[in-house]
Amino acid sequence: MRELFEIIGKWAGRVVNTSGGMALMLFQAFIWLFVPPLKLRNAFRQMEFVGVKSLFVVILTGAFTGAVLALQSYNALKRFGAESLVGPTVALSMARELGPVLTGLMVTGRAGSAMATELGTMRVTEQIDALYTMAVNPIKYLVSPRILAGVLMMPVLAVVTDFVGVLGGYFVGVKMLGINSGVYIGRTVDFVKPHDIFDGLIKASVFGLILSLVACYHGFNTMGGAAGVGEAATKSVVLGCVLILVADYFLTSVMF
């Protein structure tokens, strides 16, 4: 029994420690964003890394998700003679849920793991200590630009995912399953409201914050050489994905 309490206590301690460390890092990164000189070059480089270089993977994900969604919803809606609702089903699902969530998960896998690995390698090879010795704050130099890039680029990527998903759905629904093109587009426009899209983009921005903060925290606090770097990357992807899904539930319950 005592051992059980010890395990629970240790786990709770780790949770509190990690949450506190992340909150502190977020606070510092936010403050450093506004302390001159502003590191715009770093921020743009990170935006390119998180945004431009993730385009291909989110386009593929979006297109096939939209396509399979059209296929599944067609099969279900056909039973009620409501095939015309395939368009809105795909568009609403993409804009409200699947666009931001799938983009978050894919970017966590691609960019989040890379952030954790890069910062982790910099930690174990003393590059972060080198920044301190050169009177450069590593939070300002390394963490703030990455979090900024996550928060700003995720909505852009989510828009791309939404758009490509709707195109994928249109292709399957209209070209393959024979739904009338005018009906498909008309019903989609009728049902999807601007706030569906904007709320989805706010979600994407929050997911961008989560994935970049989790990756930076684990990378920055890496210990123990190459094994530690691998562990940091794994932790950042697993925790990032779980937190995105948890945050999605709470955001959805508040927004919609």
């Binding site: 200590d129 080198a130 301190y132 010795t133 009177a135 704050n137």
Partner: protein, 248 residues
């Protein structure tokens, strides 16, 4: 001048520094020797404020580094340069960008002036035509040289060396030792070197201090240390397995 007074530091109940007292003179090379794991790197990290001690003081020209805020420490750190054990070059940057890094961060310089300084500092460490190479393309010795060029780029008053010859062959080690000596004579800078490389120590040191079990057990110039009868020092300098230093 740097003065360390009764510095103590423990990690998870393991005492690493247990009352270190040491003075390092301005414009001289002080070499701190000791076995691996004795806390030499921990000591050097206290000197530049990367670690906070449990107790004790590190005085730089009378100012206590251990009591400083991060902002004050950043001001002090501009007076330092540091060469890390693995050189700690930024692997996403070229050699030139590495050397220019502290200048770009802290000095208002035109790109032309910056380029001039890069070439001058690289020449100082015996390198040319390497500006556009990436750290991954350099040998261990070249990395250390680039690390030294970056460490002295801001013309610091004090340069710290963490095991500058570790991982190098004997010829390259001697080459780095000569380089340390030459740059110190040229720049008249205070150098603090931690190492367990005895030939390097004898070649460059103005003063040697031996760290053992968290304390400085002996200190003096090269001649004194060579003739000092302290059995711990003798065992270490002569590289013997038998003696008061226990091999675990």
């Amino acid at each position: 001048m740097i003065k360390i007074i009764d510095l103590k530091k423990s990690f998870n109940s393991k005492k690493v520094l247990d009352g270190v007292n040491l003075e390092m003179e301005k414009g001289k090379i002080t070499v701190i020797i000791g076995r691996s794991g004795e806390g030499k790197s921990v000591l050097i990290k206290h000197i530049i404020g990367l670690l906070k001690p449990d107790s004790g003081d590190v005085l730089l020209d009378g100012q206590d580094i251990t009591k400083m805020t991060e902002r004050e420490l950043n001001e002090v750190r501009r007076r330092f340069g540091m060469l890390f054990q693995g050189a700690a070059l930024f692997d996403s940057m070229t050699v030139a960008e590495n050397v220019a890094f502290p200048l770009r961060e802290h000095a208002e310089m035109s790109e032309v002036a910056l380029k001039k300084v890069i070439i001058e500092k690289l020449r100082l460490v015996g390198l040319k035509n390497v500006e556009n190479m990436m750290p991954a393309d350099l040998s261990g010795g070249m990395k250390k040289r680039v690390g030294l060029a970056r460490a002295v780029a801001m013309d610091p008053e004090i340069v710290l060396f963490d095991e500058p010859t570790t991982g190098l062959d004997p010829v390259m080690s001697d080459n780095v030792a000569t380089l340390i000596l030459d740059t110190q004579r040229n720049l008249k800078t205070t150098y603090i070197v931690i190492t367990h490389d005895i030939p390097l120590t004898y070649k460059i040191a103005d003063k040697i201090a031996m760290l053992h079990e968290g304390r400085i057990v002996e200190q003096g110039d090269v001649d004194y240390m060579k003739s000092c009868p302290n059995p711990i020092l003798r065992q270490f300098l002569e590289g013997k397995a038998e003696g008061p230093i226990k091999v675990i």
